[in-house]
Amino acid sequence: MTSILISALSQGMLWAIMAIGIHITYRILNISDLTSESAFALGGAVVATAIVLGIDPILATVLATISGGLAGFVTGFLHTKLHIPSLLAGILSMTGLYSVNLRIMGKANIPLNMSDTILTKLSDLLGMARDRDAAILLGVIVAVIVIVLLIWFFNTEFGFSIVATGSNDQMIRANGVNSDLTIMAGLMLSNALIALSGALVSQYNGYADVGQGIGAIVVGLASVIIGEVIFKNKNFFITLVGIVFGSIIYRLIVALVINLDFISANDMRLFTAIIVAIAISLTTFKKPRKVKSHD
């Protein structure tokens, strides 16, 4: 039982970064960005390839994060410069990235269990017996850094502009801000975090798989919604902490449900999809941003 708990805790912490990325596009920018699915796998692909090439795992994780930012840039470019509706722009990126990920990895799966990862480094450093314990610590460290940086960022002039773009792009343009730029920045930030999460999860799992991002958005949304349900406060800090808790709770639910006899691991995606559908229809969920019309 404790091992289930620890596993849920460590998985939840590492996936929470992805959920925070989803929150930035879905809640702050009001865009349903499907790039996320492939950005998560991209993070894993880049980190695993880099580690196998002998690059330091910390640097490899940074590279993975940057690669996610680039993926967000591509989607932002398609949307703001080529005027492709955001949903479709995300689908195009997601589809294209699948091939890119395969190119980067050279095969569909790269095992990491023979290599040094951030987790083995951390557990060696602290003399921990199992890498899993290090995962929780690592998750906490990364989550704290990410949350602190995001709170700082969203309280800057530029951060305000991104928030305003999400709820009223007409207003922010009338106040002299290039909304293409703020949308682009939001998409890059979101996908950078999602790739970071993908990179951490790959190192935790001991492999990178080209399919590891499938369903990520729904998992991220589930975490965001659970967080909102338990922490009704609108304060940004509480919201972010709520997402982390949401992500952990989601993992606990998954662990419990999988233990039921009549449900197999294969049913999990259907289960999650149903949960999210019910939760979204029950909560007063904001409508996603309207697709810009361009005459």
């Binding site: 800057t156 002039e157 928030v163 709820s167 207003m171 009338a174």
Partner: protein, 262 residues
Amino acid sequence: MIEIKNIAKTFHKGTINENRVINDLSLRIEDGDFVTVIGGNGAGKSTLLNLLAGSLEVDEGHIYIGEKEVTKMKENKRAKYIARVFQDPQSGTCKDLTIAENMSIAQRRGKVRSLKKGIYREEKAVYKEKLKELNLGLENRLEAKVGLLSGGQRQAVTLLMATLVKPELLLLDEHTAALDPKTAKTVLDLTNKIVKENRLTTIMITHNLKDAIAMGNRLIMMNHGRIVYDVRGEAKQKLEVKDLLRLYDQEDAGLSDVMLFG
């Protein structure tokens, strides 16, 4: 001075829905002029303001603000010179940010947004003073999300925001149309006050003929994307609502002629 030279705008050009909305329109507005704009639905009033603000691009013609040609300038760049209040009270503010944060965004209109703090304590003190002048009790709700305000309150805040940094041109598009009569009057009084105090060059669209006569120093009427009537100074002061109604009728008659022969 604002100068519009022979601008034209057609929507859905080259399709069956082709719609010539602004038609070889020229207009020169002196500094400090307060122009009210009237005209029937679809006359092209909002389109004219959108062209001025850069939310839409002109097909032909030129637009100058002072000496500067802004015809091709992007909307967000033009915002340095132009402030707007829209008809929809939701449009001018961001509901997810606080009153103070919204004002801080307006305070930086036309400036590059950096990674500096979005709002400083000293600013809040200034905003509080400005809000006090509205007499709506908003000075105590600096940290309230704008989404919690009523339409009238939001419109008053938007007006205040539009003038935090003095614009070369203030554009008001039926900015009281969505408000109840009493709130509309409050916001109009506020408009008069702010425009006078700051000597703002202003264009205000309204369907209220009384307001169109009572406010500002110049009145223009639009029909089919043209300016069909332009009156200022004393002649404008002497106008009565029935004079304007007669004008609407004449234009309607003109319209039916066009339909007959067009």
